[in-house]
């Protein structure tokens, strides 16, 4: 996708989305706001997992870090929630940087292990530090806008989603993005060509954590009540499923995954919390049989339709 086409597409999508508040009721607006939140989460998680091949289990925890940083500052110290969200974003970025520097040097599964631990420890602290966080009761936080309206939160979350799209697009399609993908394709070959593998991964992880922190901060001030549910592993696996089902390592995959799964989970809400389990199983099956997700399936079918007999480039004599 060329830059011009991307920005045109983004503008078009933003325009269409802007019409939604005219036609949707409060409930459907809520679904869209949550969908946008998950879109930011999945797109930013994909930056690390899809493009540098490292799986973090602390993405929801970073969202929680953003939400609680901003929430506590606003609720306990009366800080302006907007400044809180910015500080929450920075806190998540710095924590991501620290965790990244510690674990990513080692490669392999160390990031996954450490983030899994980090995620649970963070959730337990949040749950138990009742005095500060009000534990599972949830912390009441002020809103971002004077007069509460779904439409204004919708536009705020949409602006954040646009920002996320631009940041991820610019990273992926920059010279740095070439190195991201090289690391994902073959770490050793990338290193042999001068790619600083650790630096690439730390950068991706830091940006990804910052975006999660921002999303979490905004989400908390939208819900007006933040609970340890935000940094839970349930949330983490939901984001993972969205990315894998939509299409890991592609730009639009996580976006498609986030909206379709969020909308779907609203329909099956009546069956309780089993939907995360079901999504996890679907993601597992997809990872085995369609590793490129919905996007991969769709593009394969489109290509087949366009060119029934795919010419084998390997047969081209050079």
């Amino acid at each position: 996708m060329s830059a011009k086409r991307f920005y045109l597409f983004l503008l078009l999508a933003a325009g269409l989305f802007s019409l939604l508040p005219l036609g949707l009721g409060a409930y459907h607006m809520h679904v869209m706001i949550v969908g946008l939140f998950y879109m930011i989460m999945a797109s930013s998680w994909n930056l690390v997992a899809g493009y540098t091949g490292q799986v973090s289990f602390a993405h929801a925890a970073f969202a929680g870090l953003g939400a609680y940083t901003s929430g506590i500052l606003a609720a306990k110290f009366g800080l302006n929630p907007w400044i809180g969200v910015v500080l929450g974003t920075f806190t998540a970025a710095l924590t991501g940087l620290a965790v990244g520097v510690l674990c990513l040097r080692m490669g392999g599964i160390y990031l996954s292990l450490t983030t899994l631990g980090f995620s649970e420890i963070f959730r337990i602290i949040i749950t138990n530090e009742y005095e500060i966080t009000r534990g599972t009761m949830g912390l009441q936080v002020p809103g971002l806008v004077g007069e509460y309206s779904k439409a204004s939160y919708f536009f705020i979350m949409m602006a954040a989603a646009i920002l996320t799209s631009i940041v991820t697009y610019r990273l992926i399609y920059s010279n740095m993005g070439l190195s991201f993908r090289a690391v994902q394709n073959d770490e050793k070959a990338a290193a042999s060509l001068g790619v600083n593998v650790t630096r690439v991964r730390v950068l991706a992880f830091t940006v990804s954590s910052a975006l999660a922190g921002m999303a979490g901060g905004l989400y908390g001030h939208y819900l007006l009540l933040i609970t340890p549910e935000i940094p839970s592993l349930d949330q983490q696996f939901l984001v993972l499923s969205m990315t894998v089902i939509g299409g890991m390592g592609s730009f639009v995959g996580p976006i498609i995954g986030a909206f379709s799964l969020e909308i779907l989970s609203e329909y099956i809400r009546a069956y309780g919390e089993y939907h995360v389990l079901v999504f996890g199983l679907v993601a597992l099956v997809m990872a085995r049989f369609a590793p490129n997700g919905i996007v991969g399936l769709a593009s394969r079918h489109l290509m087949k339709a366009a060119a029934p007999a795919e010419p084998s480039p390997a047969a081209v004599n050079s």
Binding site: D186, K188, S192, L193, G194, V197, V316
Partner: protein
């Protein structure tokens, strides 16, 4: 003058001595061959030079500076590029992007701007220009080896480590490839250190040959002397 020197390099894998106190030098501007029977330690030696493995003892000096302890990425940035015996293309990236990764990460690229022009030049050099926009996974083995050379050259090295690039070629193609590698050395003024199993080719192209056997330096010298060395003949043919 020696561009690359290995001084007493040793490497063990468990109980196996892959390299034992190997000292060698590669002269600036030369084509130097590295030969020896299977398991002699040739690729291990390359891995030590390229920073992919760390030596147990000994050191590597490149252009007067020590490389020992640098990461693979750091060695590459100093001006040493390599190819892999079993090719490692970035399978899901186009040939252009494969080459571009090397170019944008090279400290010798002027500016970090648009890589398209440079990438195409390097692909043209190895004759893969017409496949520039397909993904590397579609290439056959011979094409993948060419891509590895294009990528390595795009790092703009002073020393190029080639690990068996002639495998799978017929005799006519081997001659073409040897001419190509000589031309590379002359046109780009780089030094080439080259592992090869195709003995005829390396004997014709190299100014000096280093022979390894069971992790030890057997001998080194001009090709026509080395092939007559009874120890070399014995190493290859057995007792």
């Amino acid at each position: 003058m020696a561009l690359l020197e290995g001084l007493g390099l040793s490497k063990r894998f468990g109980g196996v001595k892959a390299l034992d106190q190997v000292t060698f030098s590669v002269e600036d501007g030369a084509i130097v061959g590295l030969i020896g029977p299977n398991g002699a330690g040739k690729t291990t030696l390359f891995n030590l030079v390229a920073g992919a493995l760390r030596a147990d003892s000994g050191k590597v000096v490149f252009d007067g500076q020590e490389l020992t302890g640098l990461t693979a990425s750091g060695v590459c940035r100093r001006g040493v590029a390599r190819t892999f015996q079993v090719t490692r293309p970035f399978a899901a990236m186009t040939l252009m992007e494969n080459v571009a990764v090397a170019w944008v990460n090279s400290p010798r690229s002027e500016g970090s701007g648009d890589w398209h022009h440079a990438a195409r030049d390097y692909l043209r050099m190895v004759g893969l220009e017409n496949l520039a926009h397909i993904e590397a996974r579609h290439l056959n083995v011979v094409q993948k080896k060419r891509l590895e050379i294009a990528r390595a050259l795009a790092t703009q090295p002073r020393l190029l480590l080639l690990d068996e690039v002639l495998g799978g070629l017929n005799s006519h193609e081997i001659q073409q490839a040897v001419d190509f590698i000589r031309k590379l050395r002359d046109d780009l003024r780089i030094t080439i250190f080259w592992i090869e199993h195709v003995m005829g080719a390396i004997m014709g192209a190299a100014e000096k040959v280093i022979v390894l056997d069971q992790g030890q330096l057997l001998t080194e010298g001009p090709p026509h002397e080395v092939v007559r060395d009874p120890r070399v003949i014995q190493a290859y043919l057995g007792d």
